[in-house]
């Protein structure tokens, strides 16, 4: 008789270094084999549940939520209990989560620790317990029996004995013992598979993981490995042969009794925000109308009024009020603290969010349709990310913890997965490969070269002489890719709940102190329909806030983002020149090159600019068509009216992620559900997803609807390109606003702009040195750090707005020391090093750093003498302190050389990473080292196509993923930056200068496209040695 089977004991790969299959693989295999149910029972974890659930949604196989535990101690005279708990219902699930939370919160990150008293004190009356009796080698029968009796006391009548059949040595005795125990305790036995993998083929990988877990190699792992590969999901006929029928029947009975369904988890919004006498909808409406009056003091435009009505209706229909209220609360807190923030994402750029102050994108100015962002068809939560100033985001996080309590708020997890490097390293380790050789292999592999013959590489590099092992290696690495390694904290995704969070999902410790994460990541939350609030950090917001403060000081009245005039032609003119260093999002080299081609004239052009320099549009070859159409070189056509609706704003070229999804629906006939799956697959494509299943459907669908094959293929390419790098319009719209704001500040208040940027470091693409040089090119006077003028932060000085570098530029200087210099400065300034030392209370280290920075120019002749003075210092004894002070008269040392200009330049670089004196390249040129080399400035007026020589400090080497094999090198000289393009063949031949030179000389050919100048590199030479010859003054040559 066919009783069926439910597997109640499965480790997925979320039991790290133990399980050798993904949860979805286990789920899918159970479906294939015709199991009635499958339980995922990871070690003290439910991290694998959402993925298994997603795989089994709408299938006849039931998913049971459970977890495996091994306690850290044993009841008196008993063996250590090892067991599985299965959630019977929602309540049981909550109990399980609570127990897991207890065990995880107590231990270090990644570990758990549970004691017998935890099991005795936690309520677990809605869970089944499957006991795994110890083997006869590890415990006596009486100890084992005592363990069973202890569990029986706690779990009767929900205790079962789990029996595995793994065909290993000693199994017959173990089965006999289990029968004895069942007789003694009068509890039923249930068949389990102790599953570690979905298929027997995973045995090698399981062995590898086991060896890694034991920090050994396969060869030395010996009996740590399993004796065979029987811990897989076995076909029903095999199971029927192995187990008595009643043991199998018991699995079904338990499965039937487990009614908990992960899909039934519903987010319960924290009710805190709504006063008792108000409804959520009422409150949201009130807040929106209050905001409306603030935003539109002269009356809300009719169009916006209609929009707000529509949006509020949709929100209340979907019951999303709490979500908007929660975000509003956080944003309102930030506002009250003067922390700049900006929302983005679907739903963020709506009229309601504008009124609530969540975003600054004005719906009256931009046509963004809220409907697109909240979809009635798809029952998924709206998504709003809020960026905060990076230096003050912690305050916001602390506010959330304080408002909702640590019981109810935690960060989402990020699952850290195996990537090629880590997979190769670990598999190599397990196979006993020489670690140095593995590193060699890793460095030798061109990751983007798909044709890399791994097998040959492995044999060539001498990792192994056995070709079979080389084959295995490849398979193992490929299988291991994408396996979870550990849970880390999400950058800012908070989950906030009404009741204790630990009853919704287990909470564990993160690496960072006082941070806790839940066991699910953002995809899991999304697939279960749970809501999270993204609290992100953005450096540019810090810089903008600081710049606005500086401008306010100058103007004498508060100056805010709202005071910035819109659509300022000067600002766009600046951007069109590619003059965008420091400007948000458009300061990268690729963006700087794009700006003069795209020539943004309006806010919406910026939205496109932000999104177009991305792998998606580039790989989908969307950039050139768009540019041609924008400049009227190509007609704008739409294959159909439906497509016109989607693509009109971008001139018929899909650029945003939303457009691609929408196109799949409109042009290829995807249903909303299918499109949603496509979106998820796109997001996951890079790590483990596969888009090929969609390819045929997409292309056929488009051909059927009469689109031409080329268009269809291009759209597919773009979808592939979007994988992992997708850039949605909803985000671009918010970013573009910050692009405009930062560009406006740069154009009209350059001193404040650079000062604020420097004070917000580290952030952005450029080093302080590059920013300072750019500032000087924009006629900002920059003054050196000086103990008599500088603050800790950089500041603006005098009516002419000179940018005075702050003491924070001095590398290694303590913040406290730097602040004391400013705070304790006498009105007439410091007059000697000893006065500085005593008044500011500086230690020797800080004193030396200040001398090295030449920040004592007021009272020392040069940095060498300043330093010499400092070295003669002993802690004065308290009694003579005053006296010694007065007596001290510094004597200059005649033997010390005066610093040469070159020495000063090098010392500046060492101490501050930048110099305000002449650029080193100017000195070298003067010394006659760089004959025939053109400067960046000269290149601009040089005819393209001719051979040139250039030299400069290497400030960047980039190998962008979208340009196959090309290395972009940025050289800096006294007049600006030179862009050098090195093709793969050139790079290979001249690795040494390319990779190691700090000062590089390039012979090549100049190329121009519009105002963009490149040098295509031929011969590279390393001139780094010249840097050390800088101190030699030209006058030293006789």
């Amino acid at each position: 008789m066919d009783t069926g089977y439910a597997e109640l004991f499965c480790f997925s790969n979320f039991t790290f270094l133990t399980g050798a299959s993904h949860p979805h693989e286990l789920a899918e295999r159970a479906l294939e084999l015709g199991y009635s149910a499958i339980a995922i029972t990871d070690a003290c974890s439910v991290a694998g549940i959402p993925r298994a659930w997603a795989a089994l949604k709408d299938s006849p196989v039931k998913l049971i939520t459970g977890s495996w535990f091994e306690l850290d101690n044993a009841p008196t005279d008993s063996a250590v209990p090892r067991f599985i708990l299965l959630a019977k219902d929602r309540q049981g699930y909550g109990q399980l989560c609570k127990l897991i939370t207890t065990g995880r919160r107590r231990a270090e990150k990644g570990q758990y620790q549970l004691f017998t008293r935890d099991i005795e004190t936690h309520e677990l009356d809605h869970c089944f317990c499957l006991w795994l009796p110890p083997s006869q080698e590890s415990a006596t029968f009486s100890e084992t029996l005592a363990c069973g009796e202890w569990l029986l006391r706690l779990f009767e009548p929900r205790l079962r004995i789990a029996a595995n059949r793994t065909l290993e040595v000693g199994e017959e005795q173990q089965l006999a013992q289990i029968r004895d125990l069942a007789d003694h305790l009068r509890i039923p036995v249930v068949a389990t598979g102790e599953v570690h993998m979905h298929s027997r083929e995973r045995q090698p990988l399981q062995d590898v993981l086991t060896a890694l877990r034991h920090h050994t190699t396969l060869e030395n792992a010996g009996r740590c490995l399993f004796q065979n590969g029987e811990r897989y999901l076995r076909p029903l006929p095999v199971l029927q042969k192995l187990f008595p029928e009643n043991w199998l029947r018991e699995t079904i009975q338990i499965a039937n009794a487990c009614e908990f369904e992960p899909g039934s988890l519903r987010y319960e919004y924290p009710p805190d925000l709504v006063p008792t006498d108000e409804t959520p909808a009422g409150l949201l409406k009130r807040l929106t109308h209050e905001g409306e009056r603030r935003r539109y003091p002269n009356g809300t435009p009719l169009k916006v009024q209609a929009l707000i009505r529509k949006e509020l209706g949709l929100i209340s229909e979907m019951q999303y009020e709490h979500y908007f209220l929660t975000i509003h609360d956080i944003v309102a807190f930030a506002r009250s603290q003067g922390i700049l923030c900006q929302g983005r994402g679907s739903a963020a750029n709506s009229a309601v969010c504008y009124c609530l102050g969540i975003t600054e994108v004005n719906p009256a100015k931009v046509e963004l349709l809220f409907e697109r962002f909240i979809s009635k068809d798809r029952d998924e939560p709206p998504d709003i990310d809020v960026d905060f100033e990076h230096q003050r985001r912690e305050e916001v996080i602390q506010y959330i913890y304080q408002r909702y309590g640590r019981e109810r708020a935690a960060l989402a997890a990020t699952v850290i997965r195996y990537r090629p490097r880590s997979a190769i390293r670990d598999v190599g380790k397990a196979l006993g490969f020489d670690a140095a050789l593995v590193e060699k292999l890793l460095d030798g592999i061109d990751w983007r070269d798909q044709s890399t013959n791994w097998r040959q590489q492995i044999l060539d590099k001498g990792l192994t002489r056995n070709p079979q092992v080389a084959n295995q290696f490849f398979t193992l690495v490929n299988t291991l890719l994408g396996f979870p390694r550990h849970l880390s904290q999400h950058v800012g995704g908070f989950v906030i709940s009404a009741g204790p969070l630990s009853e919704l999902v287990p909470v564990e410790n993160a690496a960072m102190q006082d941070r806790t994460v839940i066991q699910w990541d953002k995809d899991d939350l999304e697939s279960l329909g749970l809501m999270k609030v993204d609290v992100l950090a953005l450096g540019m917001l810090t810089a903008i806030r600081k710049a606005l403060e500086l401008i306010s000081t100058v103007k004498g009245t508060p100056f805010t983002i709202q005071d910035i005039p819109q659509e300022d032609p000067d600002t766009y003119a600046m951007l069109q020149k590619g003059d965008s260093i420091g400007v948000f999002q458009v300061e990268s080299r690729a963006q700087i090159n794009m700006l003069p081609r795209l020539k943004p004239e309006t806010y919406y052009d910026l939205v496109i600019e932000v999104a177009i320099v991305r792998p998606g549009p580039i790989q989908g070859d969307m950039v050139h068509p768009y540019l041609r159409r924008k400049h009227g070189l190509e007609p704008v056509e739409f294959p159909s009216d439906a497509i016109r609706q989607v693509l009109e704003r971008t001139l018929g070229v899909p650029i945003f992620q939303e457009q691609v999804i929408k196109l799949a629906m409109v042009a290829a006939g995807f249903s909303a559900g299918e499109a949603d799956k496509l979106r998820l697959a796109m997001a996951a494509w890079k790590s483990h997803g596969d888009l090929t299943p969609f390819r045929d459907k997409l292309i056929n669908g488009m051909l059927e609807r009469g689109h031409d094959p080329e268009f269809a293929d291009r759209l597919y390419q773009q979808i592939c390109g979007f994988g992992g790098y997708g850039f949605p319009e909803s985000h671009a719209a918010s970013f573009a606003l910050l692009v405009y704001v930062s560009a406006w500040i740069k154009r009209h208040h350059p001193a404040a702009f650079y000062c604020a940027l420097l004070n917000s470091q580290p952030m952005g693409f450029y080093s302080p040195s590059q920013l300072v040089q750019d500032a000087r090119r924009h006629d900002v006077t920059v003054l050196p750090p000086d103990v008599n003028f500088s603050h800790w932060e950089h500041s603006l000085e005098g009516p002419n707005q000179h940018l005075r570098l702050g003491l924070r530029i001095v590398q290694g200087l303590s913040r406290q020391g730097g602040q004391c210099v400013h705070e304790n400065r006498p009105t007439q300034g410091y007059r000697s090093a000893s006065e500085l030392r005593t008044s500011a209370g500086l230690n020797q280290r800080d004193m030396e750093l200040l001398a090295g920075a030449n920040a004592m120019a007021g009272f020392t002749s040069d940095r060498h003498q300043a330093y010499w003075q400092l070295l003669d210092y002993e802690e004065p004894s308290a009694l003579f302190a005053q006296e010694a002070e007065a007596d001290y008269q510094p004597q200059p040392c005649g033997q010390l050389p005066q610093p040469s200009e070159g020495q000063n330049v090098l010392a500046d670089y060492r101490s501050q990473g930048l110099t305000l004196q002449r650029h080193p390249l100017a000195l070298l040129r003067e010394q006659g080292h760089l004959q025939h080399c053109l400067t960046a400035e000269q290149l601009k007026t040089t005819r393209p196509g001719i051979p040139v020589q250039v030299a400069g400090l290497v400030t960047g080497r980039q190998r962008p993923g979208s340009a196959a094999g090309v290395t972009f090198v940025t050289l800096e000289d006294e007049t600006g930056n030179v862009n050098v393009v090195v093709w793969l063949a050139t790079a290979r031949q001249q690795r040494k200068p390319l990779l190691t030179a700090r000062l590089l000389h390039v012979k090549g050919v100049i190329e121009k496209e519009g105002e963009i100048v490149h040098v295509m590199a031929g011969k590279l030479s390393d001139l780094s040695h010249l840097i050390n010859s800088l101190p030699v003054n030209s006058r030293d040559f006789h």
């Binding site: 065909l167 792992a221 004796q227 050789l437 060498h864 050389p897 020495q903 990779l995």
Partner: protein
Amino acid sequence: MIVDGTGQAIMQACPAARELGIEAGMRLKTALGLAPNLHIMQADPKQEAWLLEDQARWLYHYAAHITLASPDGLWAEVSSLQKLYGGLPAIWQTVEQALTERQLTAWIAIGHTPLAARLLALTGKGECTANKNHILAALGNLPLQAAGFDKKPCTRLQRLGLNTLGDVFALPAPELARRLSPELLSTVQKIQGTRSDPKTPWQPPHIFRQRADFIQEVEHTQGLLFSLQRILSELEEDLCWRQQDTDTLLLALQHRHQEPTRFQIRTTGPEHRADGFLKLIRLKLDQQPLSSPVIALSLTVKRFTGREAPTGQDLLGETQDLNEAWHTLISRLQARLGDQALKQLSPSNDHRPECAWSAKEVRKPSKRKAAEPNLLPHRPLWLLKGPKSLDQMPTHWHSGPERISSGWWDGQRVHRDYYIAQLPGGEVAWVFRDHQDGWFIHGWFG
């Protein structure tokens, strides 16, 4: 190319690697980026020390006062040798020649102080002169980084704008001590020679070597024993005095016309007793009769081991006796049968029956605990050398199947179901079925 212990940084690169831009101090990653096909070796400080000592040994032939400048240099005091060799150039030449003969590359330098000589040698600026002013001038030109100062004072000196060792020499000594550090001044003065820098002379390591010359040629082994006995008791005395043991004796028998016959006699454990050695030597000589008459013999001992406190001795001293008896037995068996003939059985940690045991060289009984018997699986005492095909199906199955599937990583994958079964003849066999449904006998139970 040689990397440091952690395998992160490069310590030395061969000329071919330097050609590719690889330098000492570079990170291994960078180096591999430059030249993916590098041959990498790990540095071994022990080996280095040993090699340095080796060089000291031959240099000792030429100079009496030698000091090791670890890890990479040797000092020889040469001023007292000028007369003997006929001037500095002659000494220089002698050393250079000795280096060439040994195919060694080295940088020679002469200095009026040990540090001066070392710095000049390290920078390859050595010259054959004892002129102090000349040497000081050469030192003065060295860049600061080459002066071997600690990192911190070196950075400080650089911050003062000083570039060469000469700039440091120019600073007033008291200021140097006060503003930088007394240690720095001391180093500077040791370089200059205004402060003494005594070095402990190197002593060649001790070896035991005794020789006996025979007035009459000895034709039989027996004739050697008397002298051997004498030498061995001297060795025993020497060992007792040093509180050391040895496990290797080198015996050389000199012949009039032929190359000497050499024996290496090894004991199984540390040994110091003369009669213990003698027994072993006699066994060796019995095995190999003299090829021609012997005119002299020499016995050399180079390996010495410290004596450990007796271990595991109970009150009656029994354990040690047993151990000693065990030692003696093994030594004798090995001497008689050859080292290779003697093996020791031990369990190996592997699921595959073929790999679950090993026969290795006899080792000293270790303190490590053997695997507990009850953790070892149930296996037949007699495991066949290889599986034998099973001709007749068993009459009775005692247990099974036990599935063993393991060993994919070394190309000897095993996938079998084992049973304990009674064959028609009544024997109890360990049989298995492989993945192709073939049946085999793999062992017998008693």
